[in-house]
């Protein structure tokens, strides 16, 4: 009698495990995403909705101290805008790409430099950005 009880308990446990395993398998299967349901998400830099002119300079940062006189400039504006970049020693123009981004290289002086960025749109709107960029090879 006791032996029968043990066998029955074992069988009941086995059936219980099987049912639980089956339920878990079905639950997991339900969470699977088919390949045709997967969408590619691309991170997009937000562009101002307004049509008014804007100018953002990513590089160099304002008040940045660099060790090299040759400085890479990166920024973004409206694609139709004209750009003027003025350093103590030079005047540069830049043309934005289709997405409005622009990039150029300028040479600065040792010490503090005032770098001015002017964007002008075809309707005459103007935006100015002034930055202090320093060049120092001193260790402090």
């Amino acid at each position: 009698m006791k032996r029968e009880k043990i066998i029955l308990a074992f069988i009941a446990s086995a059936i219980g495990l099987l049912v639980a395993g089956g339920a878990f398998f079905i639950y997991q299967k339900g969470k699977e995403i088919k390949s045709n349901q997967i969408k590619n998400f691309v991170s997009v830099t937000p562009t101002p909705k307004s049509q008014s002119l804007f100018l953002s300079i990513e590089k160099p940062r304002n008040e940045e101290v660099l060790s090299s006189k040759t400085v890479q400039i990166n920024g973004k504006t409206r694609k139709e805008a004209k750009l003027l970049i003025i350093t103590p020693d030079a005047e540069e123009t830049a043309t934005p790409a289709e997405d409005g981004s622009f990039s150029t290289t300028v040479t600065l002086q040792e010490g503090e430099n005032l770098v001015e960025f002017i964007a002008i749109s075809p309707n005459g709107e103007t935006v100015v950005e002034r930055r202090t960029v320093s060049v120092s090879t001193e260790d402090f």
Binding site: E64, K82, T93, S134
Partner: protein, 242 residues
């Protein structure tokens, strides 16, 4: 047997104690190192190299207050390691006065928002004027520029002024006073005129002949155009409005 077990127990106790002491020592060293690294990282994150330019608004003791190029107030500390330079040979903290223009490079503390100056240079900052030409005076080679804040600037264009025209293709072409037209957008780099406070002298001038005047400037077309084309019948007879 009892003796053997007792000896074994004592040996185990001694080694365990020694090993525990060593572990404690190593832990303490690691903790100390961790603290030092954390302190150094915090220090490095809190302080960074920065350079600012601006006009002195106040000085007291070892502190200089400046208004930077974007109009922000900055507080600068100087100490015995600060180096001063100017066109004048002797230049130090005691020579700095209100309205002086300085370029400062040093260590900026993100917490206190103060700069500990390492280099202080006396500089000359220009005035940047962005606006529209509202008047041209050919007699004294001056132009009046109106900006978005309705402020007018009387600017002398001299032979030393570097003038450029921003062409439609994006190139800068050398230009001159005679090429500047009323209602053109201009960007002028100017310095105060030593003999006349109301006038400025242009060091650089950029004008944009292919672009209409800035719509944000309350530009009133009351100015007499420079060149007026009178319509003609073709026979040479000028047509004048009734």
């Amino acid at each position: 047997m009892t003796k053997f077990l007792l000896v074994l127990f004592l040996i185990t106790l001694i080694f365990t104690d020694k090993s525990f002491a060593q572990t404690k020592d190593i832990d303490s060293k690691i903790d100390d190192l961790k603290e030092r690294v954390a302190s150094r990282v915090a220090e490095l994150n809190l302080v960074e190299k920065r350079g600012v330019m601006g006009t002195v608004t106040d000085t007291s003791g070892n502190e200089i207050t400046i208004q930077d190029i974007n109009g922000n107030t900055r507080i600068v500390d100087v100490d015995e390691l600060t180096e001063f330079s100017s066109e004048d040979k002797d230049f130090g903290i005691s020579d700095i006065k209100k309205e002086d223009e300085l370029g400062i490079t040093g260590l900026y503390n993100k917490d206190s928002r103060r700069i500990l100056a390492r280099f202080v240079n006396k500089v000359t900052l220009h005035t940047l004027i962005v606006g529209v030409v509202s008047e041209i005076n050919s007699d004294d080679f001056s132009i009046t520029v109106l900006n978005e804040n309705k402020k007018e600037f009387l600017v002398d264009v001299e032979s030393l002024t570097r003038s450029f025209s921003y062409e439609e293709d994006g190139n800068l072409v050398k230009s001159g006073f005679s090429k500047i037209k009323v209602s053109e957008n201009v960007v002028v780099f100017a310095f105060p005129n030593a003999s006349d406070e109301e006038r400025l002298t242009a060091s650089k001038l950029f004008h944009f002949p292919d672009i209409p005047p800035n719509p944000n400037i309350p530009f009133v077309q009351t100015i007499v155009p420079q060149t007026t084309t009178v319509p003609s019948t073709g026979s040479g007879k000028k047509l004048t409005p009734l």
